[in-house]
């Protein structure tokens, strides 16, 4: 086993290469997948290595493209569809929800749909309302789908490998800010089972439940609170579906305080789901109200200046949390 320093895009590319090398049934497709930029670098070189038969460019036809993946997956192929923005997947909701997620049940669980959909949530430099939508909670409402949101380079590689190997349709959501990260990746990449949360920081006074780039945000807030004598535990859920409910319960039962750090909106999202888990578990008693950290309840304004105040600001969140104590 060797440890390599990698950027986020390199880790994703390496995971795809490893999967395509190991299994000839794996193929990738998406709009502009073989462009020089190749999905922010994450698909560069795949067509050269595996031929355009296994990594091909496609038209702007999201619904039929997901249907294409469902059909191929039913016959045992392992397609990876790459979408540059989650917002465009809304065009394919019929195939994702009505077909990919339901076909196994409709066949009495005699079929599987091992389809992976990689997609990116835009953020920063003025992505605007139609390029920054965060619909992981929407997908997580659908039984039969898996929803994965990595927070760092190593996890991204390992979770992508698990998504490709999963027999269920899996939405693998990458947030654009993560593309700036570097980290260590062990080669060959070891699969990380879905549904296992990671305690990235231990603490006793409050639990931060976080996903995607908000894990890094929560860690910064935790560091800021530590100086003031408050010890926060940070849990990286890694996937919303399956959800590691026990990880939330075990931590909150001990700390009796919770804040949720979502890349989506403050309402009807991860915070609501964490509240359900806590309220339905007798061992969890909160000493103070749950705090929901996420996008304000409107769509993202265009341009960085307005965008800046749309997303949570670290110092403001820290102040809000201090008031709990």
């Amino acid at each position: 086993m060797r440890v390599h320093q990698m950027s986020f895009d390199e880790a994703l590319r390496t995971a795809m290469m490893q999967a395509m090398n190991a299994d000839e049934r794996v193929f990738a497709y998406g709009q502009g997948i073989n462009d020089p930029g190749g999905f922010f670098g994450s698909t560069v070189g795949l067509a050269e290595k595996f031929s355009e038969a296994r990594c091909f460019d496609v038209p702007l036809s999201e619904e039929s493209l997901i249907g294409l993946g469902v059909g191929a997956a039913l016959l045992g192929r392992r397609p990876i569809y790459v979408a540059l923005r989650v917002d465009f997947l809304l065009l394919a909701m019929n195939q994702i929800v009505n077909h990919a997620a339901k076909w196994p049940l409709l066949s009495g669980y005699q079929s599987t749909v091992p389809l992976t959909i990689r997609c990116i949530i835009g953020k920063e430099w003025g992505q605007g309302a139609q390029h920054s939508g965060a619909y992981h909670a929407t997908f997580s409402q659908v039984p039969g789908l898996e929803v994965v949101l990595p927070s760092n380079v190593s996890d991204a590689a390992r979770l992508l490998l698990a998504s490709i190997q999963s027999d269920l349709p899996t939405i693998f959501i990458e947030a654009k800010p993560l593309y700036g990260l570097r980290g260590e990746v062990e080669l060959p990449i070891q699969l990380l089972p879905l549904g296992k949360a990671n305690v990235v920081r231990q603490g006793d006074d409050i639990t931060f439940v976080a996903i995607s780039y908000m894990v890094g945000f929560a860690e910064s807030v935790a560091a800021q609170l530590e100086v003031l004598g408050i010890s926060a535990e940070v849990i990286d859920l890694r996937s919303l579906s399956p959800l590691d409910e026990m990880a939330i319960v075990e931590s909150v039962a001990r700390t009796e305080r919770v804040a949720v750090f979502d890349v989506g909106w403050q309402r009807f999202g991860l915070a609501s789901e964490v509240a359900r888990v806590i309220c339905m578990n007798a061992s969890c008693r909160l000493k103070s109200p749950l705090v929901s950290v996420g996008q304000k309840w409107e769509h993202t304004p265009g341009g960085c200046f307005r965008e800046h105040v749309h997303y949570p600001i670290q110092s403001e969140v820290a102040d809000e949390l201090l008031e709990l104590f």
Binding site: G67, V70, A72
Partner: protein, 331 residues
């Protein structure tokens, strides 16, 4: 020989159409007992399309169907008893009781299921075609849709994708002229689906979907060509639904479909038409027809009786509420 098709095949085509009809007619009868508790979309009147197309296909060819899938399932070789079990929601059903009448599945014969979101199965058939091409054998995926399916945008995306990726797919458009009660001319300014397919780079032809011999022979030629060229093709089969869109009733009369249409199409019933042709062109086979009909009816009867008994035993055990008396206005 009837229309260049040998005697044995003609009898097989007749037997399959008669089987499909008999199953659906029996469903109509059993439906009033309210023990088949699901929406049923009967294929009565449209049997020649499924039969002609799928009996020309191989077992290793794949099929994706629609909500009106009874005929496709049977003509693809799907297991009869498991189909009836599925109507009674038994775990021995072809979809283990999870699919119901609109979602019939039999992997052993490459019947890969059916979707009830109109047009939704079309891109899936393109994906199956791609997988078959990647696997390297010369099998074809046959994707069924109705004229309603060609209202949907995803149908046109799928034509483009199939032509672009050069996948072995046969799109079969089973055109019965109606989306529930809305005729095609009220939904499409340019109804000719073959010319629409051609404009996307998919060749196609239109046939009389009530003439099983014509459908069978056309499909044989088309499948040979799709296997050789690995290019998609579209077959439009013009037919007519003799029963209601859903349920065992009919939907003719004021505000519904015109009665005159029913009379016209009853005269073109695919089963009656073939029987007449056999009697006229091959009188020696006429006796066989009666024999086949008896055998099929006995098989269907036995399958239904077995499923019903099993359903009643389970029903008694788990105590489902007793079936309410039938309400003719709702069935």
């Amino acid at each position: 020989m009837v229309g260049m098709v040998d005697d044995q095949t003609v009898l097989q085509l007749y037997e399959m159409m008669f089987l499909i009809r008999s199953v659906d007619e029996r469903i109509k009868k059993e439906y009033s007992s309210r023990n088949i508790r699901m929406a049923v979309h009967l294929s009565i009147g449209q049997e020649a399309v499924a039969t002609g197309v799928l009996m020309a296909a191989r077992r290793s060819d794949c099929c994706v169907s629609t909500h009106r899938c009874h005929a496709h399932y049977l003509a693809k070789g799907g297991n009869l008893s498991e189909m009836i079990n599925e109507f009674y929601s038994l775990e021995t059903g072809c979809s283990r009781g999870y699919g119901g009448s609109m979602h019939l599945f039999d992997k052993k014969v490459n019947m890969w299921g059916s979707g009830a979101i109109v047009g939704g199965g079309v891109p899936i058939s393109v994906g199956m075609g791609l997988a078959l091409k990647q696997a390297g054998a010369d099998n074809v995926c046959i994707g069924f849709a109705g004229d309603g399916g060609t209202d949907e945008g995803v149908f046109y995306e799928s034509l483009n994708l199939a032509a672009l990726l050069r996948v072995p797919v046969l799109f079969v458009i089973e055109n019965n002229g109606y989306s529930t009660l809305t005729p095609q001319v009220k939904r499409q300014a340019a109804p000719d689906v073959v010319s629409k397919a051609r404009s996307f780079g998919v060749d196609g032809i239109s046939v009389d979907g009530n003439d099983v011999i014509e459908v069978y022979r056309a499909t044989q030629g088309i499948l040979d060509s799709v296997r050789k060229t690995c290019r998609p093709f579209l077959l439009e089969a013009v037919t007519y639904r003799l029963c209601a869109h859903v349920g065992p009733g009919s939907d003719f009369g004021v505000g519904r479909r015109p009665e005159a249409e029913l009379v016209e199409w009853q005269a073109r019933d695919p089963i009656g038409s073939l029987r007449k042709r056999i009697e006229g062109e091959m009188p020696a086979l006429s006796l066989k027809i009666a024999e086949i009909e008896q055998q099929v009816l006995a098989k269907v009867d036995s399958a239904f009786e077995t499923s019903k008994n099993c359903f009643e035993t389970i029903n008694a055990r788990i105590g489902l509420p007793a079936p309410e008396p039938p309400d003719p206005s709702k069935v």
